[in-house]
Structure formats: structure tokens, C-alpha cells
């Protein structure tokens, strides 16, 4: 279980010129927090944002049932890619009722990585729908849970109704190399997209 070294220093290099962000999205308990924590060079941080509109439903969380507040927690991590460029990964909840939060996060985001669980593939549709609504390019990474069944890619693609060009990879959110490769698959895909203004 390799993970990125955690720096004691919370600050960015003073030479940083550009900060970019990617969204790590998916349904509840799909491994977003683990994924972000595995890749982050700093202790992953959590911030809370209060939603302006009350959600119609509450999360299906054992022990938190009846919680009707509209506060959502955002987990995020940081990767300094070179002395001028830093990448932030934001783990974002996948429910439609967090649309306002998405508007804030999605602006300027390079793209999104959808984490999926083969035991609950159908729960990924809502978040993929949201991404399409926001016009945000995405790749899908199946988080390889120990007790989850594995399927051939063709079956997974069909089950998730993916476009032929949408990357599909398998990763272990607890492993830094595996998780890094999943992010790389997303960025490689972003580079192949046809419309590149200001390029």
C-alpha cells in the first residue's frame, strides 16, 4: 500500500505560477477520499460548504440518517508537478442536489475522473449525467475493491454506456502508482480532444 509522501510544510513553493484542478467524482463510498488521500502530497484537507438549496433527499448514510442540513464536505489534495505548476484534486459528491457546488468547482477544471464500483455500476449514472450537463470531459476508473467482481472492459463499457473514446481504466485507490496512472489516462484523453482553442 504505497502512498505519496506527506509533507510537513503546508505551503506552496513561492515559485508557483499556475494552479489547476481536476475533479474526482463518484457515488457515495466509491473511494474518492481514499483516492485523493493516496495522491496528495499534503495531508488531505476537508472544507465544508453550505448549500443554498435544501436537498430533497438525505444521503444514504448509516448513522447519519435524519441529517437534513445542507452542508457538504469537500475533500481535496495537492500535487506539486513542477516548481511553477500545482495540481489540486477535489473529491466531489455526485448527487444532482449539489449542482451549485459543482458550478463553483467545475469552472476552470481540466476534467473529471469518475470512480466506479463494479458492484454498483448503476450508481455512476447520476454523476456521469452531471458531467455531461456541465460539458466536462471525463474518464472512468473502476476502483478495484478486493471483493468486487471484475468484468471484461467491453461489458463494463456497455453497462456504463460509455462513448467509444471515453477512457476506461482500473485502479486501486489505495495505491499511488495505480491512482497516478488513472489520472494520467484522463489527462492523455484531454490532450486528444479535438477542440483546443488558444493552443
Amino acid at each position: 500500500m504505497a502512498s505519496a509522501p506527506v509533507s510537513e510544510d503546508i505551503y506552496l513553493p513561492r515559485t508557483v505560477q499556475t494552479a489547476v484542478k481536476l475533479l474526482i467524482v463518484g457515488h457515495f463510498a466509491v473511494g474518492k477520499t481514499t483516492f485523493v488521500g493516496t495522491l496528495s502530497e499534503i495531508r488531505p484537507l476537508r472544507t465544508e460548504e453550505t448549500m443554498t438549496q435544501a436537498g430533497a433527499l438525505v444521503d444514504d448514510l448509516n448513522g447519519v440518517n435524519g441529517k437534513s442540513t445542507t452542508t457538504v464536505a469537500l475533500d481535496f489534495g495537492r500535487l506539486t508537478l513542477n516548481d511553477q505548476l500545482v495540481l489540486y484534486l477535489f473529491g466531489a459528491p455526485g448527487q444532482q442536489r449539489f449542482t451549485q457546488l459543482w458550478k463553483d468547482l467545475a469552472v476552470g477544471a481540466l476534467g473529471a475522473l469518475v470512480l466506479a464500483d463494479t458492484r454498483r455500476l448503476e450508481q455512476s449514472f447520476e454523476v456521469m449525467g452531471l458531467l455531461e450537463e456541465f460539458g466536462m470531459p471525463y474518464a472512468v476508473a473502476v476502483n478495484d475493491f478486493d471483493n468486487a467482481p471484475s468484468f471484461p472492459d467491453t461489458e463494463l463499457r456497455e453497462a456504463l454506456d460509455l462513448l467509444p473514446e471515453t477512457p476506461l481504466v482500473t485502479c486501486d485507490a489505495r495505491d499511488a502508482g495505480s491512482s497516478t496512472r488513472a489520472v494520467i489516462a484522463l489527462v492523455e484523453y484531454l490532450l486528444t480532444r479535438p477542440v483546443q482553442e488558444n493552443a
Partner: protein, 117 residues
């Protein structure tokens, strides 16, 4: 995974921001990098003083400032906006807000990620 209850600030967010829900400017993204530019904190409210004390150590993104201060991002943006107006902070690493980021930026991200493997 289960969100644990965070210690609440003694002062409610709307008091911290002087009753305002929106910043005076809309230039702060969650990944906008903030740098302290003034060493004197005189005249600042306690929350702004806390923010400046945090930022004095080096550059941080808006999201990191919010997390370290246990403030919602929206409240943090209001405070930062005031501090920007009063010359206490500057921002850089402004996020490209184009729908399609330029190729060189994506290539730099890719190179940085590959170097970590």
C-alpha cells in the same frame, strides 16, 4: 469516510463577513493562489487577522485557506476579497477560465504526473 463533526467556530459565519454572503469581487476560484503582501495587520477583524497569520507563511490556495481556518469556502472568499481590496494580499496563478485549456498546460500536467511514477 463518515464525516465527523468539526468543532464549530464560536462566531457565526455571517458575523465574520459582516452579514455579507458574497465577495466584493468574483475573482477567487478554489485554486486561486493567495500571497500575503502586507505585514501590518492593524485594524483587521480577528478572522482576517487569523487569515493573514496563516498566509504570512507562504502561498496557499483559497481552498487550503478555508480548510486550515475551518471556514466555508464562500466565507473565505468574502474575507479574501476585502483583504485584496485593502492591499493585504495579492493573487497569482489565476486559473485559465477558458472552456479548453491550452495544450502546453495539459502537456505540463501530464509530464508532471508521469514523473511521479
Amino acid at each position: 469516510m463518515t464525516p465527523h463533526r468539526r468543532e464549530r467556530a464560536l462566531v457565526r459565519p455571517h458575523v465574520v463577513t459582516g452579514g455579507r454572503a458574497h465577495p466584493t469581487r468574483n475573482t477567487f476560484d478554489v485554486v486561486t493562489v493567495v500571497v500575503a503582501t502586507r505585514a501590518s495587520f492593524s485594524g483587521l477583524t480577528p478572522e482576517k487577522r487569523r487569515l493573514m497569520e496563516l498566509c504570512r507563511g507562504g502561498p496557499l490556495s483559497v481552498a487550503e485557506i478555508a480548510a486550515h481556518l475551518s471556514l466555508p469556502i464562500s466565507v473565505t472568499k468574502v474575507l479574501l476579497s476585502d483583504l485584496f481590496d485593502s492591499g493585504h494580499i495579492s493573487t497569482h496563478a489565476a486559473l485559465p477560465r477558458t472552456a479548453h485549456p491550452d495544450l502546453q498546460l495539459l502537456k505540463d500536467v501530464l509530464d508532471g504526473l508521469r514523473a511521479r511514477l
